[in-house]
Amino acid sequence: MAEEKTSNLSALSHPSAKALLRQMLLIRRFEEKSAELYTVGKIHGFLHLYIGEEAVAVGAMQVLTADDEIVSTYREHGHAIARGIPPAGVMAEMFGKANGCSRGRGGSMHLFDIGRRFYGGNAIVGGGLPVAVGLALANKLQGRKRVTACFFGDGAVDEGEFHESLNLAALWKLPVLFVCENNLYSMGTGLERHQSQTDIQAKARAYAMSGEAVDGMDVLAVEAAVRRAVEDIRAGSGPFLLEARTYRYRAHSMYDPELYRDKAEVERWKRRCPIENFAAKLRQAGGLAEADWKELETSVAAQISEAVAAAEAGPWEPVEDLLKDVYTPATGSARGAAPCGDGPADAHDESVALEPRPSPLVKP
């Protein structure tokens, strides 16, 4: 088993340490609220919580610029929020409202924000990988310097799509960052019971690709590893497989009775909580006073209340529009049309610059 990269940066030396903490906390509290709203029947369908894994999304998004692209899974609230999709848009989506980031058509598993180059939650395990490869191919063919980051779980590694996509990306030296969020379970099946080779990053060698494992509970370690990987990719050395070793604290979905794992195991991992530990480090280093923490909690809570209020207040898509958005409305010849995702950001309020910029949630 390959050694995990851990961070050797001290928490305090990070220029936006508090912003990192804030993002992780926002995701955590957002999801806790979502779970609550699910039990009272405001949110329906499948709801897969990312709680415990926040350091991966938050660490990775620090490195990705607005120009870069994200492809994610059904467990994507964390990626969406860390990418800067307004929590209100995510919450409204889960309420099924027309002000949701996918107009209520997608729900929790299908958050989209093309303006932010967030190409969706995909609910078919492994289904996003080929699409990420294609986005990267388009970038390469058009001489754009973007990196496409593709998040997926350890379970997705079992699918043929993983194999085919990694081969294709490596063969064509495409700028894809494959981020495997190894939370040790594919639904209820432990890693050692679904993969013969449990050292996931090592599979990169089967494609002559670089791979590395990182402590996915350590936001700074993730950020550093993603930074190295993205530098490599931008330098033209082709795709990279990063395995973030992490853990899901909650059930797989709201239906899961968790018969397959020990409470003790969960407790053990909870002691590695990415938020608590990072906060503790900051505190120890004198970078987080009790008042700061209170302020964080308060402002996060306020943001979530606003999101819920916006979702509550949002309109329902009229039922007469049922058949909308199956086909693109005719606008004369599509040949001259701007490539999708490169037009003006039309989905949301913020416009997206084509110049690299940090994730909008980071307020250094």
């Binding site: 609910a123 078919i124 699918e159 043929g160 639904m187 679904h194 049922l322």
Partner: protein, 327 residues
């Protein structure tokens, strides 16, 4: 007679099959420790062990193919594909191996595999998780396709499928799992050649299957209040279709509507309609109607999902229109 949920009925059949025949094993994603995505196999790994209640990696093509190989090798695999949505990833194995190897080898192999999968919409799972591809499987020679709609059939048809020497696909509509029904656990394996008339009425034939049976029966009650008495035909077997039972009903009622959760164009309902065209044309007092899903990826929001799927009200409307015509 015992009252049990559809889910319990499936489990009861699985348990019986596993007890009676050591060649039987259950394989699929999370069928073991997790207990099955729909809890159909909860408790079975404790009783039968992980060799016979076999968790698989997320590799639909490989584990379905492995089921095919194991069936050729003398086992009686029951493979759970979790949902029809994911079965697309295994479709090549199903079409090009399971359905085909027997013929292509000149009859040298039989492939007694059972593929169980949940199907259908209704739980706000959005487009990728709400498919109904029963019609696709019913298109393929070499397959037998079943759609049990009651607890009794969930049990009895699974047991009957184990007697088939060739591949059987069983569609379990996800909305049915918690539904309760009477089950006779002493009953012999169900007849898997015939459709069933679930309600008799002389004015109209409502033809349906699987998850739409309940809605159709309720619609029949509504129609009865309006003075229209309906036969409700539960197809049960989607391949080969029991056209005789359908024809018998339509020869009596002279009017028919088919209720099918598949998208309208290219639905299984189209096939039933075409067969009525061919074999009951001169019996019909009005054109056969279809009540199907709208031509849209099933949306997440409840009001939109509801609008996309066949509903009691749309069935009633179709029934009324049919009976208004040509009177």
């Amino acid at each position: 007679m015992t009252t049990m949920t559809y889910r319990e009925a499936v489990r009861s059949a699985l348990r019986e099959a596993l007890r009676n025949d050591e060649r039987v094993f259950l394989m699929g994603e999370d069928v073991g420790r997790y207990g099955g995505a729909f809890a159909c196999s909860r408790g079975l790994v404790e009783e039968f062990g992980p060799e016979r209640i076999r968790d698989t990696p997320l590799s639909e093509s490989a584990f379905v193919g492995a089921g095919i190989g194991a069936a050729i090798g003398g086992m009686r695999p029951i493979v759970e594909v979790m949902t029809v949505n994911f079965s697309l990833l295994a479709l090549d194995q199903i079409v090009n191996n399971a359905a085909t190897l027997r013929h292509m080898s000149g009859g040298q192999v039989s492939i007694p595999i059972i593929l169980r999968m949940a199907t259908g919409a209704g739980r706000q799972l959005a487009a990728q998780h709400s498919h109904s591809f029963e019609a696709w499987y019913a298109h393929v020679p070499g397959l037998t396709v079943l759609a049990p709609a009651t607890s009794q059939d969930a049990r009895g048809m699974l047991l009957a499928a184990l007697d088939e020497p060739d591949p059987v696909i069983i569609f379990e509509h996800a909305m049915l799992y918690p539904q309760e029904g009477e089950v006779d656990e002493q009953a012999p394996p169900a007849d898997i050649r015939r459709a069933a008339v679930r309600r008799a009425g002389g004015d109209l034939s409502l033809i349906t299957y699987g998850g739409s049976l309940g809605k159709t029966l309720l619609a029949a009650l509504e129609l009865a209040k309006l003075g229209i008495e309906s036969d409700v035909v539960d197809l049960r077997v989607l391949r080969p279709l029991d056209t005789d039972t359908i024809l018998e009903s339509v020869s009596k009622t002279h009017r028919a509507a088919i209720v099918d959760e598949g998208w309208r164009t290219g639905s299984l309902a189209a096939e039933v309609s075409a067969q009525l065209m061919e074999r009951a044309f001169y019996e019909l007092d009005a054109p056969v109607a279809r009540v199907c899903s709208a031509e849209v990826p099933i949306p997440y929001a409840k009001h939109l999902e509801d609008a996309a799927l066949p509903q009691i009200a749309t069935i009633v409307r179709a029934g009324r229109e049919l009976c208004a015509k040509n009177e």
